[in-house]
């Protein structure tokens, strides 16, 4: 089975049809997707700002990273699940959309980013807080996080405009 024929099959499944043809389902799922980006994307931004030394100086990196970790995870799951549902109702369009594939590539990079910086940054916040100045590795992690984050928003928004 080719990827395209899988997309064709997926589009005709009951779930795909329900989201596509139900008048309110699509905007509601889209709204939850956006809300999760706002609530939890903002938390990612706050942590990045702190590690880049742009602000939040009264909060320790530890408090920001571990104090918000649960919510970032919950938010991430909500964004991914609602995003999958949105893609589910028009997989053929996604298959042909350049922006969709760019976004998927960026998502893979987000996963890699989390893995690569896990030990040195995200599970090492107490050492970061004790360092006299923010270590370069944490700045790099935060800068890349910001770029990936913005890239996901742009590529996601562009999917709707790909023809």
């Amino acid at each position: 089975m080719s990827l395209l024929s899988f997309c064709e099959w997926l589009q005709e499944t009951d779930v795909g049809t329900a989201i596509r043809e139900g008048a309110l389902l699509y905007p509601i799922i889209g709204g939850i997707h956006l809300l999760a980006i706002a609530l939890f994307g903002g938390m990612v931004l706050a942590s990045d700002i702190r590690m880049l030394g742009w602000g939040m100086r009264h909060e320790s990196v530890t408090d920001l990273i571990s104090g918000l970790r649960v919510w970032k995870w919950i938010g991430g799951v909500v964004v991914v699940v609602t995003g999958l549902l949105l893609a589910w109702c028009e997989p053929i369009k996604m298959y042909h959309s350049k922006s969709f594939w760019i976004k998927m590539t960026l998502l893979v990079l987000v996963g890699l980013h989390a893995l690569i910086f896990r030990r040195s940054v995200y599970r090492n916040t107490e050492a970061l807080d004790q360092a006299p100045s923010m270590p370069m590795i944490a700045r790099i992690a935060a800068g890349l996080s910001l770029l990936l984050w913005a890239g996901l928003v742009f590529s996601g928004r562009l999917i709707a405009f790909d023809s």
Binding site: L39, F40, G42, G55, H58, E59, W71, V153, R157, F161
Partner: protein, 155 residues
């Protein structure tokens, strides 16, 4: 100049022409609008989660709020620039769109609330139960702004 005349003029203004020019213009501005609301609503939500006792409990509410305030303002500024830019692109249609009108009402209330009652709760010595109520109202208001905004494209 009447309101409909103003909308007509706006939708042929240089900004509107730029927005309706290259096909990437609108999605680019819209993406900036999304990034703006992540700053605006995201930073407010962190304060609200804190007042609800759900995050960052080791820091005082007022401290978190004052450190986040510049980023909230940056978010608000982004929204107030990109929003009218998108509006101008199709001003006549948007101005009579019921979701758009609802969004503007929610937005006015949310902004007013954020800089008055919400601010008082955030700055109080021990926000406690009042703070929790203030946080819930805040989250509901911003969710309403976002929800009504999402519906503009569907009504």
């Amino acid at each position: 100049m009447t309101v409909p005349e103003f909308m007509q003029w706006l939708s042929t203004s240089p900004v509107a022409n730029a927005m309706n020019g290259p096909e990437w213009a609108f999605p680019m501005v819209e993406s900036l609008h999304f990034i703006g609301f992540a700053f605006l609503i995201g930073t407010i939500a962190i304060v609200d989660f804190r007042m609800l006792g759900l995050a960052m409990r080791r820091q005082p509410v007022a401290q978190i709020a004052s450190d986040l305030a510049p980023w909230t303002r940056i978010g608000l500024a982004m929204m107030l620039i990109t929003g009218p830019m998108m509006f101008s692109a199709d001003a006549v249609t948007y101005s009579v769109n019921p979701s758009f009108r609802l969004k503007m009402i929610f937005l006015a209330i949310a902004i007013l609330y954020n800089f008055t009652l919400h601010r008082m709760a955030v700055r109080s010595e021990k926000p406690g139960a009042v703070g929790m109520l203030a946080a819930v109202v805040s989250l509901l208001l911003w969710t309403s702004v976002l929800g009504a905004g999402r519906m503009i494209a569907f009504v």
